[in-house]
């Protein structure tokens, strides 16, 4: 309550503050890239031109309102046209517009200066998360991951204190190096999203079936935050974009690590695991991807999120269970996890579900079993 009162107080203070567009948090961020600063300057230029025109036009009007009132005894004049005036106020705005269009065109041309990039990242929008794929000419150095919002439901539902970066934080940020030209190829898997980082001055729609090109060079390391900017369904408000810009050395080290981890991941796809290994990996996958709905104890929140304890799917034929996780159930919140998890992870989580909380199917699920089903579905 006190919080609310304070907020209303500060709102009142805001109302009083004049020339608000010049204050920092009330205006477009200047950003950190050359492009974002050019956009900012353009924005300010046009804003000020509009203010000046507005001031002139409205003062003429207010002078008229004050002087040419009947209450002030003013008699109406009898003029109703003036061709010269009409021509002037057609030509003058055109000149002003040209003055605006010239710098705008220059900035736009600069933004289209693609090519010469040092690296490329594919940005793919999903309902409701982003996938980042680092593309490399050497296919073995290509890897990808998902970036989900990490703000908790409790914070959203006012059951926990909201953190500093409420709604603007993710589990895996996109990482890029400072001072290198990074090209982004933006697309989407399902509906249209828009990828936006205000501080870089870049925003582009992620359209299914279309690859949009964007680029940036960020001089300063740091963490930059944005949001999806195109209505994409229920959780449109909950798919932030977070980019961590790293020093070049640190980035290269991180990249090498990821490549190595990727190699292990690929290797795992053809490995045969012991039951224990599957359980350990399965538990970690389950807790990251499934527990939010099916709960850590597997009992879910019926009827919305079903229990997995002793159910026909969880204890019945294994392949049905695998298919359920791969394909999800369309029209429900049970997504097709085949798009986010690899075969080793799916195998592990299926094995885990079949041997936890009292379930005991007595079989094992290996990555190759999952791959077999994926191949079947793909028709080969």
């Amino acid at each position: 309550m006190k919080n609310l009162a304070r907020r209303i107080g500060s709102v009142a203070a805001l109302l009083l503050c004049a020339a608000p567009a010049f204050a920092d948090e009330l205006n477009m961020p200047r950003g950190v890239t050359d492009i974002s600063r050019e956009i900012y300057d353009l924005h300010m230029l046009i804003f000020i031109i509009c203010c000046v025109i507005g001031a002139v036009v409205f003062s003429v009007m207010f002078v008229s309102i004050i002087k040419h009132r009947r209450a002030a005894g003013h008699e109406p004049a009898d003029f109703h046209e003036n061709t010269q005036l009409e021509i002037i106020w057609t030509i003058v705005p055109i000149i002003i517009l040209v003055a605006m269009a010239v710098p705008a065109t220059q900035v736009l041309i600069a933004m289209y200066d693609t090519g010469g990039e040092d690296m490329t990242v594919e940005v793919r929008g999903y309902q409701w998360k982003w996938q980042y794929k680092y593309l490399d000419d050497d296919y073995n150095r290509t890897f990808s991951f998902f970036s989900n919002m990490s703000t908790t439901q409790d914070e959203i539902n006012d059951k926990a204190e909201k953190g500093e970066n409420y709604l603007l934080e993710v589990d895996n940020p996109l990482r890029i190096p400072a001072n290198r030209k990074v090209r982004f190829l933006v697309t989407a898997e399902d509906v249209i999203h828009a990828w936006w980082i205000p501080d870089f001055g870049i925003k582009r729609d992620a359209v299914p079936g279309m690859l949009n090109e964007l680029w940036t060079i960020v001089p300063e390391p740091g963490i930059y935050r944005g949001q999806c900017a195109e209505l994409c369904g229920k959780d449109h408000g909950f798919m932030p974009v977070v980019v961590e810009v790293m020093e070049e050395d640190a980035f290269d080290a991180w990249y090498a690590e990821e490549v190595e981890r990727e190699a292990i991941r690929v290797e795992n796809l053809s490995k045969t695991f012991t039951g224990e290994e599957l359980m350990a990996e399965g538990e970690s996958v389950y807790n990251t991807f499934c527990a939010s709905c099916h709960q850590a104890n597997g009992r879910g929140v019926p009827p919305v999120f079903p229990s997995l304890v002793g159910t026909p799917v969880a204890t019945g034929p294994r392949d049905e269970h695998i298919r359920m996780v791969l394909d999800g159930v369309p029209g429900t919140s049970m997504q097709a996890f085949g798009k986010q998890l690899d075969a080793a992870q799916v195998a592990a989580v299926v094995h885990y579900e079949r041997h936890s909380w009292g379930n005991n199917a007595g079989d094992t699920t290996q990555p190759r079993d999952v791959i077999a089903i994926q191949d079947q579905a793909a028709g080969n």
Binding site: L42, C50, W89, P93, R204, D205, A229, H236, G237
Partner: protein, 538 residues
């Protein structure tokens, strides 16, 4: 039918020139009278304003504070979608058609609209269309939740089942608009009193003539878009489905080819209204009549070649971006001419500030602010930062609420005496104005800032730095909402207890309608009036 019988029919009709309205409900159901139909349109649009306003208040209640308190994100999306659709198609457009019905025959000196039966039909489609659309909110799976712009594939592959009802409702609204505009064109072109040449027509007539052509041109395009959606959803076509070789961007091109002229459909008649109200209360002829007509015509023409300014972030070749940026900036020229002309009309007039004039002056100022933010949005590089943020929300609410809606209020107060034969209460009217004026600015001005600071539109919850602006907006929205309910009281008070109005209720008002008694007779001009210098533009 032989000629003899035709004559008989007309004779017979002539005998009954002064017959009044039928009694009871059938008067409204079967009426072919332009005033009755105008009244129906106006009350219907007021009802829709209340419904759409209720949805807006639900939205603003949820956005009062960060976090989710009242509704879930899915329902939030249904609210934003239906708020937009109801306000655009249910409140603003029918209100202008209502004004057209009431005013056009009186202003051109005709007895009624040219096609009275079609007039009845075009109104009576609407309650069914909106009944159906609003009913979707109560269906399993919920109502439309994809924004009033209904971008595919969110509105096709990923839409709730109720989208089919929505499509049908849009078809019905389109049919209604097309019939309405045919009627308006026929009336204006065929039914003018002798001597009223095109360049002597009142501005409201001019703006509606051009608007009607815009409607005729773009409503079929909208119908095409929703039909393609229907086929994608039910007949497995892939117009907008990338997986089947279609293109989601195609949808946006089609939609905005309709959508941009659509926004001028909602503002050109407003220009017409303001061009009547300001001269009346400045007691001075409209400045630059000819240039006003040419400005409206050029805006209408330009409106067809700027649509992709809504799509700068979609990804277009540089040449396309530049073309749409330049063409959009050009619209500022004729729009500026209109504002300069209005101000020159006030200049050295003898102004008084009754309620219609207050709304008209607020229109000029606030619409111009909306125009400035529109010019900023036209600047492509800057648009990358503004697009799909609250800056856009602020922009279009400035042109639609203190723009279109205020002009409708100006019109209602201005012609109220002609319609009802009574004057509204001036103090109540002014109170309504000031509450609306303050409310609208508290609601929408802060949204410029939250948008610039980076708040995307159409989100049910927001980061903490946007909290103050949103709280302010929500407070303003409730003030504004209250003011519109109060307007109902002002109307009823005026109808019941208002002072009797004279034929020329405002001493500065000119035009044929003011030569008729107040309230105007059921059939406006049974004999063509003489168009004098006094009552027409020269």
């Amino acid at each position: 039918m032989s000629e003899a019988t035709l004559d008989q029919v007309t004779d017979h009709h002539d005998d009954h020139h002064d017959h009044g309205p039928a009694k009871g409900l059938s008067r409204w159901l079967f009426t072919t009278n332009h005033k009755d139909i105008g009244t129906l349109y106006l009350w219907f649009s007021f009802l829709m304003l209340m419904v759409g306003g209720l949805l807006a208040l639900i939205i603003r209640t949820e956005l009062f504070q960060p976090g989710l308190q009242f509704i879930n994100p899915e329902f939030f999306n249904q609210m934003t979608t239906n708020h937009g659709l109801i306000m655009v198609f249910g409140a603003i457009m029918p209100a202008f058609v209502g004004l057209a019905n009431w005013l056009l025959p009186m202003q051109v000196g005709a007895p009624d609209m040219a096609l009275p039966r079609m007039n009845n039909l075009s109104f009576w489609i609407l309650p069914f269309a909106f009944g159906m659309m609003i009913a979707t909110l109560f269906m399993e799976g919920g109502g439309p939740n994809f924004g009033w712009t209904f971008y595919a594939p969110l509105s096709t592959t990923y839409a709730p089942d109720s989208v089919t009802y929505f499509i049908f409702a849009v078809h019905m609204m389109g049919a209604s608009s097309i019939m309405g505009s045919i009627n308006i064109i026929a009336t204006i072109l065929n039914m003018r009193a002798p001597g009223m040449t095109l360049m002597k027509m009142p501005m409201f007539v001019w703006t509606w003539l051009i608007t009607a052509y815009l409607l005729l041109a773009v409503m079929p395009v909208l119908a095409g878009a929703v039909t393609m959606m229907l086929f994608d959803i039910h007949f497995d076509t892939s117009f907008f489905n990338a997986a089947g070789g279609g293109d989601p961007v195609l949808f946006q091109h089609i939609f905005w080819f309709f959508g941009h002229p659509e926004v001028y459909i909602m503002i050109l008649p407003a220009f017409g209204v303001i061009s009547h109200v300001i001269p009346a209360f400045a007691r001075k002829q409209l400045f630059g009549y000819d240039s006003m007509v040419y400005a409206v015509a050029s805006i209408a023409f330009l409106s067809f070649i700027v649509w992709a300014h809504h799509m700068f972030t979609v990804g277009m070749p540089l040449a396309g971006q530049l073309f749409f940026m330049y063409s959009t900036m050009l619209i500022a020229v004729p729009t500026g001419v209109k504002v300069f002309n209005w101000i020159s009309t006030m200049w050295r007039g003898s102004m008084t500030f009754e309620t219609p004039m207050l709304f008209a002056i607020a229109f000029v100022v606030l619409f111009t602010i909306g125009g400035f933010s529109g010019l900023m949005l036209a600047i492509t590089p800057a648009d990358y930062q503004y697009h799909d943020t609250y800056f856009v929300v602020a922009h279009f609410h400035y042109v639609l609420v203190p723009g279109a809606l205020f002009s409708i209020y100006a019109a209602v107060y201005f012609w109220f005496p002609k319609w009802t034969g009574r004057m509204y209460n001036e103090s109540l009217g002014k109170l309504h104005f000031w509450l609306s004026f303050i409310g609208v600015n508290i609601t929408f001005f802060p949204q410029h800032f939250s948008g610039l600071a980076g708040m995307p539109r159409r989100i049910p919850d927001y980061a903490l730095q946007f909290a103050d602006f949103n709280m302010l907006s929500s407070i303003g929205a409730f003030i504004f909402g209250f003011a519109q309910v109060f307007f109902l009281y002002v109307l009823i008070h005026g109808i019941r207890a208002g002072k009797k109005a004279e034929a020329r209720a405002w001493d500065g008002a000119h035009g044929l309608e003011w030569t008729l008694p107040s309230p105007a007779p059921y059939h406006s001009f049974t004999h063509p009036p003489v168009v004098t210098e006094e009552e027409a533009h020269t």
